[in-house]
Symmetry: C2
Subunit: 466 residues, 2 copies
C-alpha cells in the first residue's frame, strides 16, 4: 500500500468563506453517515485536501480533529486518517459465507481451474504488455486484435481442421457471448437446438427474440431428418461430442446436415466446446472445414483453460460477417486488449498445446476413475458416450426418478444433475432416467470416494437399491 494521497470529493459553498470549516465537517459527516464514505476508507492528507479544495490547511486539520473527537474518523499510525466503523448497516456485510457442506461436486460444465497454468500465463502477460503497442490500449477493432485473429486462424486450422483467414475470425467474450450475437443476427430465421441440450442456450435464443425449435437427439446425435419440418433456418449443434449425451454425430448425419444447410440456405452453428479432450483417438474434424460457407464455428477457452478469462471466437461465413461485427460493436464494442494480447502470446508460445497435453492426461484418469467407481459401487448404472470431454451420461435402471435422486444426494453434499434438466420437455414419458456427471474438478481418489458415498446413501436412505 502507498502513502500517497487518495482523492476525495467534497462540495463547498465558496460564497460563504467564513463557514468553510463547518461546511467541510458537515460534508464529511453526511458522507460517512450516508455510507458514501465507507468504513476503512482512507482520507487525503490535510495538506493534499487543502490544496485540492484551495483552502488553508488549518481548516482541514481542525475539521479532521473535530470529526475524530466525534468518533467518525480515526488516525492510524503510518496510514493517515481513516473512516471509522459507525454501525454496520444491514446488507453491507462484506463476505457471504460459501455454500456449506458440498463435499463432492459432480456438476458438469467447467474445467478444474486449479490446473490453470499460472506461471505460463504470467509470462504471456508480461510479453503481451511489453509488445502491446500503445494504440491497442485505445478503442480497438470489434472483430478483435489482428495478432490474435492470426494466431487463432493458425491454431484452429492446425488443431481442428477449421478453414479460415484471420478476417473470418470474430473474437468474443466466451461462447455464450458469441451465441447471443448469432441469435440476434439470425433471429428472423428461427434456430433449432438439440434436445437434450443446454437450457441456457435455449433461453438465450428466446431472449434474443428468435424462435427456438428443439430437435431430438439419439445415439447417432442430432436427428437431422427432422430439421426440414421444424422450419428453422439455423441449427445450434455439438457434433464432436453432443452435450450432454456424449455421442458423436455419425458420419451419415454429418453429410445429411451439410446437405440440409446447402439446399435450404440454412446455417449450422457448430459449438465445438470441448473437442480438445478426446481420450481414445483424435477428435473428428470440425464441420466448418468441410463447408465454411454454411457453418459458423464457435469455440472458447472456457473448457480448455478457464471460463473466468471470457475469451471465445466465432469463425463466420462471409455473408454474415458484417452483421455479426456490427452487432458486437453496438454492445460492448470489443474484447479487452490485454486479455486478447495475452491469449495470442500464450497460444503462439505453445503454452496452450502444452496445457492441453498435460490436462488431457489428468482428465482421462478422472474419467477412468469415475467409470470404474460406477462399475464397482453402482453396477446397475451404465456410463455412455464417447471417451471425450469433461462429463459422462449415466443411465439409471428404469423406473428410477433421477431428479429425486439428485435432490437426495444434494442433501448429503453430493452434487449430481438429472438429464431432465437439459430436456426441452422434461415430462415426456418412456425415457430412461439418467444423470449428467462431471468429473473434471475431483481427483480420482475423491471420485471413488464420492461414488462410494453416493451408493451408501442411496441404499441406506431407501431411495432405491441400485
Amino acid at each position: 500500500m502507498s502513502t500517497s494521497s487518495p482523492e476525495l470529493f467534497v462540495e463547498l459553498d465558496r460564497s460563504r468563506p467564513r463557514g468553510l470549516r463547518a461546511q467541510l465537517e458537515r460534508s464529511l459527516r453526511d458522507a460517512i453517515r450516508a455510507g458514501r464514505l465507507r468504513p476503512g476508507v482512507r482520507l487525503p492528507s490535510s495538506r493534499a485536501l487543502a490544496a485540492d479544495l484551495q483552502i488553508t490547511r488549518g481548516v482541514v486539520i481542525a475539521a479532521y480533529h473535530q470529526l475524530t473527537a466525534e468518533g467518525y474518523l480515526t488516525s492510524r499510525q503510518g496510514w493517515g486518517t481513516v473512516v471509522n466503523t459507525i454501525t454496520v448497516p444491514e446488507g453491507s456485510q462484506r463476505r457471504r459465507p460459501p455454500p456449506a457442506g458440498i463435499r463432492y461436486d459432480f456438476q458438469p460444465g467447467a474445467p478444474d481451474v486449479g490446473l490453470f497454468p499460472h506461471a505460463a500465463w504470467a509470462r504471456a502477460t508480461r510479453a503481451a504488455m511489453r509488445s502491446l503497442p500503445g494504440r491497442s490500449l485505445g478503442y480497438g477493432d470489434p472483430a478483435g486484435l489482428t495478432e490474435l485473429r492470426e494466431t487463432l486462424a493458425d491454431y484452429l486450422g492446425r488443431v481442428r481442421g477449421v478453414s479460415c483467414e484471420p478476417d473470418d475470425v470474430v473474437v468474443c467474450n466466451g461462447f455464450s457471448h458469441g451465441l447471443s450475437l448469432l441469435a440476434q443476427v439470425l433471429a428472423e430465421r428461427g434456430i433449432a437446438v438439440e434436445d437434450p441440450g443446454h437450457p441456457d442456450w435455449r433461453e438465450q435464443i428466446t431472449w434474443a427474440g428468435a424462435s427456438c425449435h428443439p430437435i431430438e437427439v439419439d445415439d447417432e446425435g442430432l436427428r437431422v431428418d427432422r430439421l426440414a419440418a421444424s422450419g428453422a433456418g439455423a441449427v445450434l449443434t455439438t457434433p464432436a461430442h453432443q452435450y450432454p449425451t456424449g455421442v458423436a454425430l455419425s458420419p451419415g448425419r454429418r453429410t445429411d446436415l451439410l446437405d440440409w444447410a446447402r439446399t435450404s440456405g440454412a446455417y449450422v452453428i457448430e459449438d465445438d466446446y470441448d473437442a480438445e479432450y478426446r481420450y481414445d483417438r483424435q477428435p473428428i474434424g470440425a464441420l466448418q472445414g468441410v463447408a465454411p460457407d454454411h457453418v459458423v464455428y464457435a469455440g472458447s477457452l472456457s473448457k480448455s483453460l478457464a471460463p473466468g478469462l471470457r475469451l471465445g471466437w466465432l469463425v463466420v461465413p462471409p455473408a454474415l460477417r458484417e452483421e455479426v461485427v456490427a452487432t458486437r460493436a453496438r454492445g460492448d464494442r470489443f474484447t479487452s486488449s490485454i486479455i486478447q494480447a495475452t491469449v495470442a502470446e500464450f497460444v503462439q508460445r505453445g503454452d496452450l498445446d502444452r496445457h492441453l497435453r498435460r490436462t488431457r492426461r489428468g482428465y482421462r484418469q478422472r474419467r477412468d476413475a469415475l467409470i470404474a467407481a460406477l462399475r464397482r459401487h453402482l453396477p446397475a448404472c451404465r456410463a455412455t458416450g464417447i471417451s471425450a470431454g469433461l462429463h459422462v451420461l449415466v443411465t439409471l435402471p428404469g423406473g428410477m426418478d433421477a431428479t429425486r435422486l439428485a435432490a437426495t444426494a444434494a442433501r448429503h453434499g453430493i452434487l449430481i444433475q438429472p438429464l431432465d434438466r437439459y430436456r426441452a420437455c422434461p415430462a415426456a414419458p418412456g425415457r430412461s432416467p439418467a444423470l449428467v456427471m462431471g468429473y473434471s474438478r475431483l481427483t480420482p481418489h475423491h471420485i471413488e470416494e464420492g461414488i462410494h458415498h453416493l451408493a451408501t446413501i442411496l441404499n441406506s436412505d431407501g431411495v432405491t437399491t441400485l
Copy 2:
C-alpha cells in the same frame, strides 16, 4: 518459444491400415492447399504425431519427407518441420499499413494511452493473480467480482459522492456495454438524449429497440423543461461536463431534472465519463448521490486509464437491478475475472488516484496549450465550456462551414471534428459553426504546432481568413 510438440488434427481411415502413409500425406497436403494449415505453422515432431495417431514413427517420417520434397514443408534448424509458403492468396496479407499522413490528431474521445502506468498495472496484475482464488477463474457472478464491487463502492463514494452498497454495483465492459444493457431494460420507456450528444449512443439506443428523443442543450446544459413533452421515461445525460459542448448542468437544472424524475417515475442515466478531469476546482458531485433511487450512475476506466481495458460500472437503483443483471447474464455472462481482480488491486493500492493526479497535471497543460494556440493563431475562434475533461468546444465565426473546414484540414493531416457530427439534426439553420477538439493525445509543443499549421493552411488555402 518452446520446442515442445504442437497439436495437429489429422483424419485417418483405420479400416485401411496399409494406406496410412498415403492418407497422412494426402491429409496434410489438402490442409496446406486449402489454407487450414497456414504458412509458418509448425508441425508436431514425428514422435509426437505418431503417438497421437497411434501409428509407427516411420510412417510420419516418410510422409514429412515426401511433403518436404514436394515443397509443402520445410525443416528449420532447432525449430522442426514448418509449413512452407506455397502462394500468398489474396486477402491473407498479414498487416494492414497504418493510415498515412496523420500529423495532428485533435479528435476527441480517448485518453493518451501512452501515459498508461505499465509498471503499476503489472504489479497489480501479479498481486491479483496471486490472490485470485481458484474459483474466480470459474463461472463468475454476472454483477461482478465481490472484491471489485466493494472497491468501486468505496471509490465512487469517496471521489464522486455516489451513494451505494457493493450490491448496487454492476461491473460491465465499458460505458458502451452498460448503455446497451440499460437501453434493453428501459426500451419500452423511450430514452431522451442530449442534442448535441454522442451519435454512437443514439444509434445504440435505437439498435436496442428503444425510441430515442433528442433534447436541446444550451449554456446551462440539458433543456430539462423539454423532457416532459418528449414523453421519454428515461434520459441519458452528462451533467458534470456535457459531451461535447463542455458546459456543466446548472444547479437549477439539476434540481429540475431530479424533480422530473421523481414526479414522473422516470430514470436519469448519469454518464460521468470524464469527471476525474476538472482543472480549476473539484467537480460537482454525482447526481446519483442526491437521488439514488432515480439515477443510474455510469462510469468507466476508458477516459481515466485506457479504453482497451474494457472495464466500466453501473450503479443501479434497486428496482432495476435484477433485470439489468439478468440482461447482462444473457449476453456475455460476466467480465473477465483477471481484469476485474487487477482493477480492484490497482484501485485499492492507490494507483488510480496517483495516475489521476499525474495525468490531470499533464492534460491541464495540454488544454492550456490549445487555448493559448487558438488565441494566438486563430483569434476569431472562441473556446467555450468549463475547464475540464479531454476536449474543448471551439466556436467559429458565423458563416463558416465547420464540416468543410474539417475536410480541408484532414487533407493536410490535421484531424478535427465538426460539432454537427454530434447533432441529431445537423441541417438546422441559425446555429454557430463549431469544432470539437481533443487535446489529450498531443504534447503542448505539437498542439501549438498543429494549430499554427491549421491557421496557415486555412489562410493560404483560401477556405477563409479567421
